[in-house]
Symmetry: C2
Subunit: 146 residues, 2 copies
């Protein structure tokens, strides 16, 4: 039941990728050489959302996880916000602000989780790596598309 609640939260975030597509606007942006191929985004995000729901479920079983669960809530809100702002409203600077806050929240979440339960921290780690790539991509697009 609890796992289902976390899957629902991740489903809300994931659905932004279906409703707000990159489209022609993204195709014509100047992008850096490290830009991942388009097919990799839905694959990476699907894996990360499943890991994120699993980690959230594991956190509810660990005593003293209240603050980490608050961080989990903050990251899923910021994650759900980024896609419509970037791909829907084409607001590259606002996207950069959101993804920076998101990165900080996820970094704090991973650090605090590692101290509670190493395995759960490792489950969350790919998310932080992928967010670093996404933030660098957003920053490069911001600099090179005035």
């Amino acid at each position: 039941m609890t796992l289902f609640i976390f899957l629902l939260a991740c489903g809300a975030a994931a659905s932004t990728g279906i409703i707000f597509k990159p489209g022609d606007w993204y195709a014509t942006l100047v992008k850096p050489s490290f830009t991942p191929p388009n097919w990799l985004f839905p694959v990476a995000w699907t894996i990360i959302y499943l890991l994120l729901a699993w980690a959230g479920y594991r956190l509810t079983l660990i005593p003293g996880s209240e603050i980490v669960l608050a961080l989990w809530a903050a990251q899923i809100a910021l994650n759900t916000l980024w896609t419509p702002v970037f791909f829907g409203a084409h607001r590259i600077f606002a996207g950069m602000v959101i993804i920076t806050l998101l990165w900080l929240v996820v970094a704090a979440m991973v650090l605090l989780t590692v101290r509670l339960d190493l395995i759960t921290g490792l489950i969350l780690f790919p998310y932080l790596v992928w967010l670093s790539v996404a933030a660098a991509l957003n920053f490069s697009i911001l600099r090179n598309n005035r």
Copy 2:
């Protein structure tokens, strides 16, 4: 610190109201007689987001609140999703699906919270009332604007 995390999550949800405005599209929709005046929406949501952050903070201090915190996370993701889908993408039916899920999650959150701590449940109650109005408005707009 924990209150700040919840305020950040609510800030992410609230910023959708600044980035995705109702605009001309909403003005021309056929709306029911019970539609609240435009000025009431930002006022009501500001109060509700502050209450929601306060309730989240209080929940972290209550033992056994893990599942309610998971519901808190799911509701803030669905809440952040609704505005860009409805006002950004003009997807009235998708908005109806999202707000129905959101209402169910918030109803479950309020019920479970009341059993943990009556005061926190009461703090959350205006949110459920306002969501009921918003869901009825979305449904009416869906029926009368084909």
